[in-house]
Amino acid sequence: MEDNGIYLDHNATTSLDERVLEAMLPFMTRQHGNPTSRHSFGRQARSAIELAREQVAAAVNAHPSQVIFTSGGTEANNLAISGIAASYGVSQIVTSAIEHPCVSRPALAMKYRGWKLATLPVNAAGVVETATLEERLQSDTAIVSVMLANNETGALQPVAELADIARRHRTTIHTDAVQALGKVRVDFAALNVHAMTLSSHKINGPQGIGALILDKRIDIQPVMHGGGQERGLRSGTENVAAIVGFGAACTLLDDRIALHESVVRPLLQRLEQGLHRLGAVIFGAEAARLPNTSFFAFSEIEGETLVMALDRKGFAVASGSACSSDSSEPSSVLLAMGVEPDLAKGAVRVSLGPQNSTEQIDAFLATLERELARLRQLTAVAV
């Protein structure tokens, strides 16, 4: 890691594992074939992709033939939502109130094309209320999509339970497992969903690659048309090096998950004890959460200001998800949980990784305490 400071934003992206880089390098240099080519260069690239497909499948208890490589989580979510809804025909799309924009926005785009949207609310802890799905499924529904773990609060969602309900209604269910992968066990078969989105760069793999795990019995239309790669579901020359890297990162998942239990969870507990002491409100604290994510606020302290102040002191944290960090609107996830907009504006997300240490957490807490005191003083002067 560089001298930029201490990285506490692992839900935004993670550093590449050295072993992953090593696996990728040959495919960035001499093994450069196009997997569609029939000569030996092409065939080597093809076998590398197929090995990675097996590695990804094995990591989430799926079959290799269920793995469709995409350019990332966003594309996989777009493919699942638009592709399955378009194939099913004009009907209803059900998502939770706390989905990542790359689920909610394609759903919105389908709304402009005639589909109805229905939302599953969450409780105060940020967990989807399963009972409402039964109600929503009274209308003809193309797809239900609920994330496995929320990117901001880390709250785990009752996806297996929702899948039971959806299957009783013969409705297709998809889960965005991007934030859950590599932090808790993710089992495609046990979740019993039809489709699941994965991303490589959240698990120490390269950026620019992800996958949709898809039950092959589900009808789906491609979003991208062309050369017919990935069984016609995702055209475009395969990103061989990144696919190889994603596969390699998946072989390291067992260790990664174990480290999240043995190292990261205790760090998070230490962090949150400190946060409580400083008077923070921790969002979703009552929910079962990812072992690495803490989303919190201090009343009367603006999140953006605090995040910038912490950055100047060398701590990289976020005021929400990276993808919406442009906007100054309060987090829609928090609003869905019924958090007051004023408090929601104070939200700061810390997401830990196995490389973080007790010393870093203590240093963070000490800096936070000083910065809070300084900011409160400034506020007092302003008032």
């Binding site: 062309g226 990144a242 944290v317």
Partner: protein, 404 residues
């Protein structure tokens, strides 16, 4: 001869990453791993700066404004975004599209998809040399034509279309003009300040950059609007959501910088190699160059070997990695649709080979290839009854074949 086989002569399928590009990418895989969308810390800013530098490099190669460059996952996505995005955005003005039978699948298939959603399309047939007759293009225009898509350099036969003339006609008629330039960057000069082009697709991995990254040029003046095809966090001004793969973008920027600085010299060297390859292969009887030889990038030589069966030809030349037809369709045994559109017979289309020469091709490799082709074609023809009949002066087109 001391050449290492198999010899790679398939640079139009994909190019190796230039070592200078790989070197530039690696720091962004390791220490600078931030998410460029992270606006709250230096990890994110470092990544964002690298992304913007690369955007400038891509823009400079084609003389565009960096703000006109949108990152995508590759030329296929760029083509999809341009064609479906523009057609849908402007559909209230009309629903007719003009394109060419010899376009890449990444253009043809989105157009076909639009046809399923109420659009109509004209697929122009090129002249036998692969070039479009400008007057035929003009004649295809209808009052409801909203979009035209014509590639700059063909992936199979390397011919260069007269984009400027076609673009001028599009301007006269208010038609949005998209150009797939995936095979053109680093091979022909592109000046988007002068060219009347509204949308242009680029790929990194055809120009010694990494796979999985491309770009779409979207003209600002006059402004061209698109309907986004991928929705989410609103990256790339809402036109293309998804975390930007920093290292790949950095790689594309460096690849395009090298292309800008070195293409003039590289083209001279490659033309010399191509001329040598062509001269050598023309010593073989009954060979036909597919596509115009003059209005063509020197990197591509597509040749049909008459009286040779296509599959056995590919098997026989395993020492050279070449393509029969484009890589994206070579999984099927259908003869190349590009060569068919030129009016080539199935037999000639089947027995075609695309040699594509690149940055790392050596003179020795060309010499080896010529010798290999001469010997293998000779052997295959020795086994061919058709060759024997041809040599006996029998006109094969007049032979009545018995059914069996």
């Amino acid at each position: 001869m001391t050449v290492k086989t198999p010899i790679y002569l398939d640079y139009s399928a994909t190019t190796p990453v230039d070592p200078r590009v790989a070197e530039k990418m690696i720091p962004y895989l390791t220490e600078h791993f931030g998410n460029p969308a992270s606006r709250s810390h230096v990890f994110g800013w470092t990544a964002e700066k690298a992304v913007e530098n690369a955007r400038e490099e891509v823009a400079r190669l084609v003389n565009a404004d960096p703000r006109e460059i949108i990152w995508t996952s590759g030329a296929t996505e760029s083509d999809n975004l341009a064609i479906k995005g523009a057609a849908n955005f402007y559909s209230s003005k009309g629903k007719h599209i003009i394109t060419v039978m010899t376009e890449h699948k990444a253009v043809i298939d989105p157009v076909r998809e639009l046809e399923r959603h109420g659009f109509e399309a004209t697929f122009l047939q090129p002249e036998p040399n692969g070039l479009i007759d400008i007057e035929k293009f003009r004649a295809a225009i209808r009052p409801d034509t909203v979009l035209a898509s014509v590639m700059l350099v063909n992936n199979e036969i390397g011919v260069i279309q007269d984009i400027e003339s076609i673009g001028n006609i599009c301007r006269e008629h208010g038609i949005i003009f998209h150009v797939d330039a995936a095979q053109a960057t680093g091979k022909v000069a592109i000046d988007l300040e002068k060219l009347p082009v509204d949308l242009m697709s680029f790929s990194a991995h055809k120009t010694y950059g990494p796979k999985g990254i491309g770009a779409l040029y979207v003209r600002r003046k006059p402004r061209v609007r698109l309907e986004a095809q991928m929705h989410g966090g609103g990256h790339e001004r809402g036109l293309r959501s998804g975390t930007l793969p920093t290292h790949q973008i950095v790689g594309m920027g460096e690849a395009f910088r090298i292309a800008r600085e070195e293409m003039d010299l590289e083209i001279v060297r490659i033309r010399r190699l191509r001329d040598k390859l062509l001269a050598g292969l023309q010593e073989i009887e009954e060979v036909y160059v597919n596509g115009d030889l003059k209005q063509r990038v020197p990197h591509n030589l597509n040749i049909s070997f008459n009286y040779v069966e296509g599959e056995s030809l590919i098997m026989a030349v395993k020492d050279i990695a070449v393509s029969s037809g484009s890589a994206c369709t070579s999984a099927s045994l259908e003869p190349s649709y590009v060569l068919r559109a030129l009016g080539r017979s199935d037999e000639l289309a089947h027995s075609s080979i695309r040699f594509s020469i690149g940055r790392f091709t050596t003179e020795e490799e060309i010499d080896y290839t010529v010798e290999l082709m001469k010997s293998k074609i000779g052997k295959l023809r020795d086994l061919s009854p058709l060759w024997e009949m041809y040599q006996e002066g029998i006109d094969l087109n007049k032979v009545e074949w018995a059914a069996h």
